[in-house]
């Protein structure tokens, strides 16, 4: 469990990136942190693994104040994948990159190799194991960075903008991998602007603006509140926009539909398509 208590942080003493953030994340939760560029999302998650230390307030990990622990000690518990993969990749093959973290955390050679190959398959990096990460595309490098952390299966996985540069198939794979980690009791925290990904895959959403948390709750509630969307510079997804407009014309059309399958069946119902029989 992570407890953030009234954390303040400023990089330069002039601009305050976090102004009194409090947040509790229970074991096994799966949540999104959303908000404008510069809202403090990345600054907040860098406190989870000790990369940044609060200037006031506390970060408590599994009951202990993180100020008493080194980053290396926290790394066993909290794995962070940074927004820019180039900040964390440094070895000359994809395989070495993934195995590096595993060995550092004390996994045996055999175990490390096994986990490495499993993660490579889960994230669609087959065929790239012996390539240099720096010869790969942006989206592929991002997945190597994800793999290097996900392979260690830390108790808490924190991903900063994991869907950047990923096509629809890769996003689906990532979602499945996060789901499976979650099912095995891991906590998953995703910083993202990808509202469609959040709606489909993350049940809780924390919305940030100007260094504070402006909303925290069930994703479908937080993200259907126009004020919060506005505050976080989010725009409603296409299907929400369509649903709102259709609700005006056809009062029976539910206003708050966001999932593709729901919108499809409602449109079919209105247009009297072949599968439109209402049970």
């Amino acid at each position: 469990m992570i407890i953030i208590e009234d954390v303040h942080f400023s990089y330069d003493g002039l601009y305050t990136a976090l102004r009194g953030v409090s947040l509790q994340i229970d074991d096994g939760e799966s949540l999104a942190i959303m908000g404008t560029n510069g809202a403090g999302k990345t600054t907040l998650v860098k406190h989870f693994n000790g990369l940044l230390r609060p200037q006031s307030g506390r970060v408590i990990l599994n009951g202990a104040d993180t100020k008493d622990f080194s980053i290396a000690e926290i790394a066993r518990e909290v794995g962070l994948v940074m927004q820019n993969p180039d900040h964390q990749l440094f070895l000359d093959t994809v395989e070495k990159e993934i195995v590096f973290g595993l060995k550092n955390l004390g996994f045996t050679e055999e175990e490390a190799t096994e986990r490495c190959s499993r993660t490579i398959t889960s994230l669609g990096l087959e065929g790239l194991a012996q390539r240099s990460p720096f010869a790969l595309s942006g989206g592929e490098r991002k997945r190597v960075a994800l793999a290097s952390v996900l392979a260690t299966e830390p108790r808490v996985v924190v991903l900063d903008e994991p869907t950047i540069g990923q096509d629809a198939c890769q996003k689906q794979r990532l979602a499945e991998m996060l789901e499976s980690l979650n099912e095995r009791g891991r906590t998953v925290v995703v910083v993202t602007h990808d509202i469609e990904f959040v709606i489909e895959h993350l049940p809780r959403t924390v919305a940030m603006a100007n260094g504070t948390i402006v909303a925290d709750g069930q994703t479908n509630k937080v993200l259907s509140n126009d004020e919060i969307l506005e505050c976080c510079s989010l725009t409603p997804p296409q299907l929400t926009q369509a649903a709102r407009s259709l609700h005006e014309e056809f009062p029976t059309f539910p206003e708050r539909l966001t999932l593709l399958s729901e919108v499809e069946s409602e449109v079919l119902r209105i247009l009297g398509g072949e599968n439109s029989v209402i049970p």
């Binding site: 990089y11 330069d12 601009y15 908000g35 404008t36 560029n37 510069g38 990345t42 927004q83 820019n84 180039d86 390539r131 240099s132 010869a135 790969l136 595309s137 942006g138 989206g139 592929e140 997945r143 903008e161 950047i164 540069g165 990923q166 096509d167 629809a168 198939c169 890769q170 996003k171 602007h193 509202i195 469609e196 976080c232 510079s233 989010l234 725009t235 409603p236 997804p237 296409q238 299907l239 929400t240 926009q241 369509a242 649903a243 407009s245 259709l246 014309e249 056809f250 593709l260 919108v263 499809e264 449109v267 079919l268 209105i270 247009l271 398509g273 072949e274 599968n275």
Partner: protein
């Protein structure tokens, strides 16, 4: 003559075991707004690098065929010679920011090309205004969020007054509102005559502005045409291109023999088409 012409062009990075581009032939005319999309690793970034001469001048490797940009063959001219023709905004903005504050960053390119100080000054002010980055003027790029850095990177690229703006996923680090702002800026540049080639996965945001979408897969162009034609092509779903959700609904309805009278690219377009069909 097209502004950019790929003539049966293939490229393999030094040390790689497969081709990043395979016999690509395509032409981009002045004034076009081209979206390049396709699965991760399909060659989109390589295509961008081949337009401004980074390939083959900086990234070495095996090459076949030619790329001719503004009448210059990229085999025969230095990257610097393409600087005022083809402006490339990278995927990771911080990989291209080199100075200590925004003013210097925007001035860096034109100063290097020997542009008059007064003109450099003018361009800096114009671009700070255009990209709405006054509040960042004295900030160090490393103190900015990814989205802020991207705006600065675009300003610095435009300072060279290129004929074609090539943007490699320029909105991927941006929140949706900032992404819309950037895309609106790019689209208004296009309306004023700037040729645009943009790599983008989020087709829901760009399809409405684009005059053309090029879909790539494994180094080849697999579809090329108007957005409303390309996005309903089954190839998009087969290779994992995330078509706009409104367009996806159109396709799913069509599969169930429910035809809307047009292909929607946005939520509002979908709603109007459904209303139209529902009232007849």
């Amino acid at each position: 003559m097209p502004l950019v012409e790929f003539q049966d062009f293939s490229f393999k990075y030094y040390g790689a075991d497969s081709l990043a581009l395979k016999k690509v032939t395509l032409a981009i005319d002045e004034g076009e707004y081209v979206v390049i999309t396709g699965p991760s690793g399909c060659g989109k970034t390589t295509l961008c690098r081949a337009i401004n001469g980074l390939i083959p001048q900086f990234h070495r490797g095996y090459i076949a065929g030619n790329v001719v940009v503004n009448g210059m063959n990229t085999r025969e001219h230095e990257v610097a010679e393409f600087a005022t023709t083809a402006g490339l905004v990278f995927q990771q903005p911080e990989n291209q920011l080199v100075t200590l504050n925004v003013e210097k960053e925007i001035a860096f390119g034109p100063e290097n090309l020997g542009v008059e100080p007064a003109e450099v000054r003018r361009r800096v002010e114009e671009l700070i205004d255009l990209l709405d980055i006054e509040h960042l003027r004295d900030k160090h790029p490393h103190e900015m969020s990814g989205g802020e850095q991207q705006r600065v990177a675009i300003a610095a690229t435009l300072a060279l007054k290129p004929k074609i703006l090539i943007a490699d996923e320029p909105t991927s680090n941006l929140d949706p509102k900032s992404a819309e702002t950037i895309l609106e800026i790019i689209s208004s540049l296009n309306r004023r005559g700037m040729t645009v080639a943009i790599v983008e996965h989020r087709l829901d945001l760009v399809a409405k502005d684009a005059s053309r979408i090029i879909v790539m897969d494994q180094g080849s162009v697999v579809a090329d045409g108007r957005p409303r034609e390309v996005l309903v092509d089954d190839i998009c779903e087969e290779i994992g291109v995330g078509i706009p959700k409104a367009t996806l609904i159109y396709k799913r309805l069509a599969a169930k023999k429910v035809r809307l009278s047009g292909v929607p690219l946005s939520g509002d377009e979908l709603a109007s088409l459904v209303k139209e069909s529902g009232s007849t």
